[in-house]
Symmetry: C2
Subunit: 284 residues, 2 copies
């Protein structure tokens, strides 16, 4: 897995060359290149490998998904959103570059990410590039991640319209699982796979588990461990798995979901590492 | 021209169906559908027509460019950017939907716009769709419009590094002319034209003229005429054509540029209407 992470980091660096205006590119790079687990790009590359594809062909898409993920972090941390001064143990983007540049760096990444797919996927046919871009647009935009973020924000302060359990499932599906689905589906498509049902279902389960782990960690972890402000869900009265079902039930559900994933992914050492990593962080 | 504007409006409505989460789609639609001149989509459609293409083939791209333009307005008006409460005579997006939803609606449009190109351009070959998307990514993102916005913001309060005339040209080129170039180049590409030099040069001149007109209007117009706060360039000590060369020189330069455009576009009634419209607004 470390080998893949290094490859992703090298390529992120390569795609994001600093040109004028330097502040803009430095701000974009700042958050994209913060040390991280590169979970989504690794999932994309590993799915491509598992389906018999060449991981180099999936590299632009894998890196684009990491850029998109970084974009959500930059805008999420803004004062008008989650208002967080720290991310991965470092100052948030807007604390370093100012709010205006942070907004624009996030905006720029939203166009830069699909541009990387279109520009660097020379080994793929135009049809496949378009198919990957359509996946990207579907899961990254108003029908995907952003839909999840809007409902997440609107459900603060206990202000939930409708059945809380369904709303929570909607938030987890779109805010988190959609990028996992995007990663695995595009990895499979690039490898030439037509049947995407299994990877979509797996990504949904793993994404759901990952978000429950995040909800748990916001409750039990520390700033030092997480590199961001902790306990914010409670302060904001956010709808989370922990607030709805309690900590013990959340841990139990998480263990179940991760076991389900583990059974399905026998053939991948890397996915097992990802699952074990989540277990270890939450202590189950 | 009114006929084309109506067609654009009908298709914008059609592409932007309201689905859950409704607040997000309502916020996206609110700014996109504000009554406007639809200058950029009309330029795209008219260039396509002039080059022998079918304007229906260019409709998704034309509408995508209008969505992108609306996105820049939503984020430009945010308190951390230009902080404007009004746009086209109506409350700004964030004054109606709140800052968080306005940020996310802008983000969503940045993915929605190229998605409309990819999804609805069925009459174009995958190669042509990819070529259009590459144009879109080049002019819409960190190498185009956003680069212009960053330098525009950084050059406030007289804080310009480098030669002011070059910096002003950079801002005008990227912040304004780049979307004109995108509109005309994609219109030409969709019509099957390979030589894009003439339309690019024309769009650069018209874009430059349009931005000078905007600088003049910020000085001489009223809120009632413009539908947004007036005199803000001066307050923010922005680098504009008027602040650098004076009002009379700006009007003179504008007249020259518009005459140049007029001479080059003899065959298009619609471009003549656009040029006459700018002259009329500024009173030259």
């Amino acid at each position: 897995m470390n080998n893949m992470i290094n490859l992703v980091n090298e390529n992120l660096e390569k795609y994001m060359e600093i040109v004028y205006p330097e502040d803009l590119f430095k701000s974009m790079r700042y958050t994209v290149l913060l040390p991280g687990k590169r979970l989504r790009p690794v999932m994309c590359l590993e799915t491509c490998r598992m389906k018999g594809g060449n991981i180099e062909d999936a590299m632009p898409t894998a890196c684009a998904i990491e850029m998109l993920h970084a974009q959500t972090l930059i805008h999420d941390d803004l004062p008008c959103m989650d208002n967080d001064d720290y991310r991965r143990g470092k100052l948030s983007n807007h604390k370093v570059f100012g709010e205006a540049v942070a907004v624009l760096a996030g905006d720029a990444l939203l166009t830069f990410a699909p541009q990387v797919i279109a520009k660097f996927s020379q080994n793929l046919s135009p049809q496949t590039v378009l198919r990957v871009l359509n996946e990207y647009f579907t899961y990254a935009g108003a029908y995907g991640v952003i839909a999840g973020q809007v409902i997440d924000i609107e459900s603060e302060k206990g202000n939930v319209s409708g059945d809380k359990k369904s709303v929570l499932e909607y938030i987890h599906t779109h805010k988190t699982a959609d990028l996992f689905k995007l990663s695995m589906r595009t990895g499979a498509i690039i490898a030439g796979e037509d049947d995407l049902e299994d990877v979509t279902q797996f990504a949904q389960t793993l994404g759901f588990a990952f978000q429950i782990a995040d909800d748990i960690l916001d409750e039990i972890s520390t700033f030092e461990e997480m590199g961001k402000t902790i306990g914010k869900d409670k302060t904001a009265e956010k709808l989370t798995y922990v607030s709805l079902y309690g900590l013990d039930n959340a841990k139990c559900k998480l263990a179940c979901l991760l076991d389900e994933c583990y059974d399905k992914i026998q053939e991948s050492r890397i996915f097992k590492e990802i699952i074990d990593g989540i277990k270890k962080r939450v202590g189950i």
